[in-house]
Structures are given as C-alpha cells and as structure tokens.
Symmetry: C2
Subunit: 499 residues, 2 copies
C-alpha cells in the first residue's frame, strides 16, 4: 500500500512558488462557500513519525482563513478526558457545520500504536476498527466531509529526517517517543497498512501522501483538500428531497504532474536471461512446481493465481510455463472475457466465486476480478463509485480465500511502451500471430497513461500480506517467465508451511 508513496515525487522551489498563489486563492474561496453550507469538514492528519505532520498543520493555518478553522492535537490525555469514555475527547473535538477541524492525531493513533507495541491483540484491533468505521459512517451519514491524510516516509527517508533534525534545525524538535517508534518502523508500517485498508471506505477515504519532499507533501495536501471540498460543495448545492439519503462524496484524485509518477516507473525492465541459463532455470522451477503442486493436492491446499498485464506483455506464455509444470488434472485455466448474460445478472464477483477450486486444486485466471479497476475503470464501464468500492470488495474477497487456506499469487506483467510497440509490429508481420493483435489493442495503447494510473492504484490498494502483487519485469520474456515460476513456487511453499 505504501509502495506507491516511495516513488520520489517532488516539486522544486520555483515551481512551488509559481503554483502556490492559485491554490491559496481557491482554498479561501472554497472556505468562503463552506461558511454558507451546512456541513463540517474533518481533516485527519496521521502518518509515520518524522513525516512533518506538524509542518503540514502549520501550512494549512498559513493557507486557510483561521476564522472557521480549528486544530485539535491529541496529545497526552487530560484528567478530564481520562475520567470519561474514550470517545468523549473525539466528540469534543469535532468542528461545527461551516468549519474545518484539523485533527492532529486522531482516533487512529492509539489503535495503531497499541497494536504495534503489542499492547493489544489482533482481535482487539479488529473490534476497534469496526468501531471507527461506525463512527465515521455516523458522521458522514450526517453530512460531514472527512478527509484523512496519511503522510508516508520510507525507512531510509525517516532515518535521514531524524538525523537532520538532530543536527541542528532547532525549530523542529524531536518529539518524545519518536526514536522508539523508529525502531518499530516495520511493525508500525504493517499495522498501519492494515488499519488504512480496513478503514479506507468510499465515504471517508484515505489519501496517502509521499512526505519525503516537504513542498510536494504540502502542495498535494492542499490540492487534495481543495478537490474534496469543491466536490462536496458541489454536491450540497444540489437540493435533495428531504427523504433522500445525503449524496456521499467520493474519493477525489488530483492530476498535478507529480501525481503521474507511479510504481511502474520504478520497475527495472533491464534484467534479461541467456537462453541456456533460461533453460536451466525453467527446468529447475518447473520440477519444483510439479512437486509442490502434488504436495498441495495431498495437503488439500488450493491455489488461485491471477495474471494481468499490458497487451502483448506475455501473459499467455507465462501461464503456459506454469501449466506445463503441472499434471493436467490439477489445474484449470479460466480466461476472463466479457461476462455472460447470467453473470451480468449477478454481482460482478459472483462469476469469480464460481471458479474457486476445490481443496488441493489450482485455478489460473487469465485476467480476473481486477478488470473492474482496470478496463472497466478506464473505459468507464464501471462508474467512479463502483470501481472505488471494488478495492474494498476485492480485499474482502481475497481475505475470505486466504482464510480458507488458499494460496494466492497475483502477477502484473510489465513491459515498456516501446517494447509493446515492437511486439505489436512483430505480430502484424507473422501470419499466425496476426489474430493476436486487434484494433482494441491499439485503442488500449492510446490510453497507456490512464491504465498506468489504474495499475498504480490497484497495486497500491490491493497488495496485501496474504495476496501480494508481483510486478514482473517482462521486457525480456525469459526473465519474466522465470520470475513468475519462482514466485509461484514460493507462494505454494509458504502456503504449505502454514497449512
């Protein structure tokens, strides 16, 4: 989830200075309109230590009109607070209609810290997250706009930040406990990822902001808040009949140039394999996979594998190397094309549930439920609410598979745009490969950037501990196939260890 916030997005000083005035003007204008509206704005500021949460809050104070802006920092509990139910302090901190309340720390702080330090159990965390979801839904049902920011730093960036602070910038004093947290970085990130995923609802979405560059961090925060506020203001401008549910706001996305940099831009596509080396490794991993697939059959452990990737990336070839290793009785390849009438008359996940294998068997999905957040999103077959909702639905779906002991592998086979063009042209030249290239492929190619965005969101939001994405460098087909086989083997090994 946080991989997408470690791609080096930044804004240089000149650029920032040039863009800042317009952002400020529009923020103030939105705030003016908010004063005539009838809902509150709740801004949650969270993230890793050292990411500059306090600086962001200061920046918002600089940019916004302080009338109608209130900041509450959840620091140590007061006597007053300790003597009342835990939620009392949060209720106290809520802004009234027409105001923006910036919560520095929030109802997320204690659950994350307590779980990361081992003070609470997984079940206690789950219960707490359910309460948080209820609380936020209660507020949004009542009309509130909730904008939740998570400021992320990689471990290295965090270490650097701490060092800089120590060295001399006296204005940003190291708050107590920061050093302890740094030690817990990995655990903290794991827990945070789970918490964010569980509470990333359509009505109160999380915005994960890469915080390594302060200018990018602040500017993107401002732009995101502005977009969310403008969208919500537009919704409340539409008069609703009194018996209707309030129109819920949707997660917003901003399209500054920096936002276009994605995970895929960081995939190293250069690795390649010599033919002899390839042959050797192919044999090795296929034998291993054969043995593993029988072991899984014996143990009753099923496997679900998803193959997604650019047109002509080599999905088919990769799948054939996997099936080539297994007894034909053990696997089924399920090609996903347009849904049938019957499938269309059900929830979109229904058609995939149908193909979930019995214990011990393998299902290989050639394209999958991720179509919802790829082609259906890009082509507009699913509306915004539908594909945004799909991230959470897919998480639940895969969690249910994982809970049943099913091993899950998901591959995005990545190639460069140039490599795709070369393959398209090569296919056009070979008569028996011409059927593989259609007008649709060329049309999809025109939407490369839109797909790139969609893939980034997909990997960021649905790569989980139990169902991780593997982005395969596929410019060299041999390298790609071996990477798929090796990952497949490792996935099965882990599942067999667990089972």
């Amino acid at each position: 989830m946080f991989d997408a916030a470690e791609v080096g997005r930044r804004i240089d000083k000149k650029d920032f200075k040039a863009r800042e005035p317009e952002l400020r003007t529009r923020l103030l204008e939105a705030q003016r309109r908010l004063r005539e509206a009838d809902f509150p704005v709740i801004v949650v500021v969270s993230g890793v230590e050292g990411a500059g949460k306090s600086e962001v809050v200061n920046r918002l104070h600089e940019w916004l009109d302080t009338r109608g802006l209130q900041t509450v920092a959840f620091w140590d509990e007061t006597d007053e607070e300790r003597q009342r139910p835990r939620w009392w302090r949060f209720w106290r901190a809520l802004p009234p209609n027409t105001a923006i309340g910036v919560l520095f720390g929030s109802w997320y702080t204690a659950p994350i810290v307590d779980r990361a330090t081992g003070a609470t159990t997984e079940a206690e965390l789950d219960e707490e997250l359910a309460h948080i979801a209820e609380f936020e839904r209660m507020l949004t049902d009542d009309g509130a706009l909730i904008v939740k920011f998570w400021f992320h730093l990689s471990r290295e960036a965090q270490a650097k930040r701490f060092k800089d602070m120590k060295k001399g910038d006296r204005r940003r004093k190291l708050a107590p406990k920061q050093k302890e947290f740094a030690k817990l970085y990995t655990r903290f990130i794991e827990v945070s990822e789970k918490v964010l995923r569980a509470t990333d609802s359509g009505v109160a979405p999380w915005y994960v902001i890469e915080a390594a560059d302060p200018r990018y961090r602040d500017y993107t925060t401002g732009e995101t808040l502005l977009a969310a506020l403008e969208q919500r203001l537009a919704l409340s401008a539409v008069p609703a009949s009194s018996d209707d549910a309030l129109p819920h706001s949707e997660p917003v996305s901003i399209d500054t140039p920096e936002a276009q940099i994605t995970i895929l831009d960081h995939v190293d596509l250069s690795p390649a394999l010599e033919r002899t080396d390839y042959k050797r490794q192919l044999k090795k991993y296929q034998s291993r996979l054969n043995a593993l697939s029988w072991a899984a059959w014996n143990a009753g452990v099923s496997t679900v594998a998803v193959f997604e990737g650019w047109d002509a990336a080599g999905k088919g070839g990769a799948i054939r190397r996997v099936t080539g290793a297994m007894d034909a009785r053990l696997y089924r390849v399920i090609p996903i094309a347009a849904p049938t009438d019957e499938e269309r008359a059900h929830h979109y996940l229904w058609r995939f549930w149908r193909h979930i294998p019995r214990a011990g068997y393998v299902a290989l999905f050639d394209r999958s439920w991720y179509g919802r957040v790829l082609v259906e999103r890009v082509e507009g077959f699913a509306d915004n609410i539908e594909w945004m909702r799909a991230f959470a639905e897919i998480d639940v779906f895969e969690e249910q598979l994982a809970e049943a002991g099913i091993a899950i592998a998901k591959f995005w086979i990545h190639i460069s745009k140039e490599e795709q063009l070369a393959r398209f042209e090569a296919r056009a030249d070979v008569p028996y490969k011409q059927h593989k290239i259609t007008d649709e492929d060329w049309r999809n190619r025109e939407r490369w950037d839109a797909y790139k965005d969609a893939v980034n969101d997909m990997v960021a939001r649905t790569s989980t501990a139990h169902a991780p994405w593997t982005v395969v460098a596929g410019n060299d087909k041999r390298h790609g196939r071996i990477e798929v086989l090796r990952t497949f083997c490792e996935t099965l090994e882990r599942a067999l260890d667990r089972g």
Copy 2:
C-alpha cells in the same frame, strides 16, 4: 428486542381468508414488475426452532409465481462446499436480477449456533458480524434488495409447539437437534438478539415477526415482503444519473390492525401503593441509593439515567425522588429542550456527549437522545432515514458508555390515555400547575397512537443487556416512583459488582 414479538398478535381464520386474495394478487403484480427490473431480492428466513420457518417458505411458494423464485436451504454442508471457502455456498445461492431467492437458513445460522453452544468466542462472533455487514453492504450497494425475517416464539410458545408436534402432527416432523436447541433457549435468544442488533442496518433491516399464530406470521411476512418490494420497485423506477449512488431502500412498516398492538398494551397499570407503605419504601430505597451513590463515587463508577414518558406521566416527580436521595455534589439534572444553535451545528449526539459525567458522578437526563426516535420521528423533524439510522447510532453510543464502566438506566414512565386526560384536567384547575400544561401537550395527545408505535420500536430496538429499558407503570404515582428508585439502586449495584 424480542419483547415486542411476544404481545399476542393473531389473525382469525375468517379474517385471514378475507385478506389473503388481495395480498396474493399484489405480490404477483410486484413479482411481474420485478421481472422487468434489474435487481435481485434476497429473502432471509431465520428464527427460533419451532417457529415454522419451513411453513413460511411453503407459504411463499404457494403465493408467489415459482418462475423467478428459488429457495435454497442451508442444511448440512456438501462435500463440494466443505472443500471451498465458507462463503462460496452463499455466493452460489444468490438469485440473479429479476428473481426472488428465499434462503432458509443463511450466513446467520452458523455464527449464532456456534456462539450459543460456546464453540466460538465473543471476539470471533464480532469479527464474523463485521464480515456479514460487509457482505450485505456489497450486495445492496450493487442494488440487491435484502429482506431479513426473524420468526420469534417465547419459550412457552416454543415448548407448546414442540409438544404439539410430538403428539401427532406427522407432517411437521421434529427436525434433529431441535430438542437440544430448546434447552439452549435462553442462550440462543441472547446471542440472536446481539446478532440482530449488530446487523440491523438501514440497508438490510431485520423484521422480527411474532410466530405464535401461524396466520399472523404468514400474513405479516407476505405484507412485509410486499411493502419492501413495492418500495424498491418505486425507487428503481426513478432514473438516476450514472454517477449517483443507488438509492437505498429503507426499512418498511406495515399498518395492519394487528401491527398496532405494542409492548405498552401489555403493561399492567393496576399496581398501586398505600401512602404508609409508600413512605416506608421511599425511605428504604432513598437510604440505599444514598449509600450506593457514595460507593459509586468512591469506585469512580458514573451513572447515566434517562427519563422518558408520556406528558404528565410524572417524570419530574420521579427525578426529584432520585435527586432527593443523593448529595447535590454528585448529580446533575440535564433537561433536554430544543437544541441551541451550536448544538444544531453538530451531529445530534454531540449535545449528549457534552454532558457525560466524570468518573463517579451521576447525570440524569430529563428527556434525552431518544427524542430522535420519539418526537422527531412523530413530528417529522427527522426524516425516515435519519431516525431509522438513530437506533444503531444510539446502540453504539450506549455501548461506548457501558464499555467505560458507566451504569445506564432508562425509564419510560407509562400511563393510560385516560389517566393522562385526568391529569391534564386537574392541572388546568390548579393555578400554580397551569404552566405545566401547554397547547403542545394537547397536540401530542392527539398523536397518542403514533407515539405508541414509536415507543414500541424504541424499546424493542434499544433495550440491551448493558442499557435496558424499564417500562414503569405510572398510573399510580407512588408505585411508579418506587419502581424507579428500586431499579436505580439495582442498576448501581450491578455496576459496582462489575467494577
């Protein structure tokens, strides 16, 4: 929650025969319109053993067109099912758009039985309920109409039913396990109540049906299904812009004569106390309460008490008998009138959170957050969605108080309509009491039946183990006051025992 389904509602044979044809005709007409619509209807049939779930399913088959009707009974797991994730069988059973799927047993069966028999822990049940909520929301988000029926029998009615079956009606054979369940009745009801409350969302509401009389049971099921279906059909007839969320259906209510019988009709208003007896008991309970309130202060246990009741029922007098027993430093009486501007600019629960006492203190609410589901509902100040949602919001609120160790007592002081009239007239005669009777009181009196419905729903839906309602028989003021004092003492004793 189930008290409201033990009030003896029934329909006699002649009446049933007279009404049945119209219901059938309208059901078939709704089913015909469903075939042109684009959503499925999921009917969940659950309830206590012996309530006649199977007969209800048969009746629906008799009434509905079997084309477009499918029934799935979740009986023992098949091999096919055992070998796949647990949710697979439910996905398999979902009806397609335009069809009605009757699920006899459902995703609720195992969680309730497992918890009642002690096979799972409370935390595991909570986790499961969160999954169920996600699943149902996913389906309703996609447009499905979910109608969940719970058929209730009191312990006595269940025992009688089992005896009748044994005696001779061979068509209704006692299913295996029924006898075991009967022994677990109390535990089963406790768990079911929690499950229903936790999953009684606005989008997939529960309908608790009193099942002692088969004709009432079947007819009410048919009417409720019809009302829900007609409402949903009306919603989908309104074309929505593609980017809008689907309009959610709301819980329906039916207004057959039997449905007008409520919990309040079963309160025995005859008990009365002689003056000397009253004096004696007043002294006894006030001394006890004094000691208990100091003990609670020492232990840091707070108390929140809610006083609701008909106009002129004697709320004020009851509150004064409670405060008269306590040191004035320990309690605050919070009269709830129209909200202030500041309060109006927040979520409606915000104003009550403000008054939550510090550890060891007592807050007495003269009227309360229940205004949302009483006056605001009846007078239309809150729209249907708002007050329906409030039941769940209030449950969460009170649960948070209870989790913090706060003792909660809730009183509805009940008097008959005649007694109210007598008191109104008496007040009008006494100059210093005239201010207590306003035009509004007379207007409220005209809506007696609407309030009666609202009180019934309120008590049924928000009487929980940690925050139970006490319906006080208040026709005799002395009796009512002693009942309040005694309950108050018992509430504090329980809280101190726990703490």
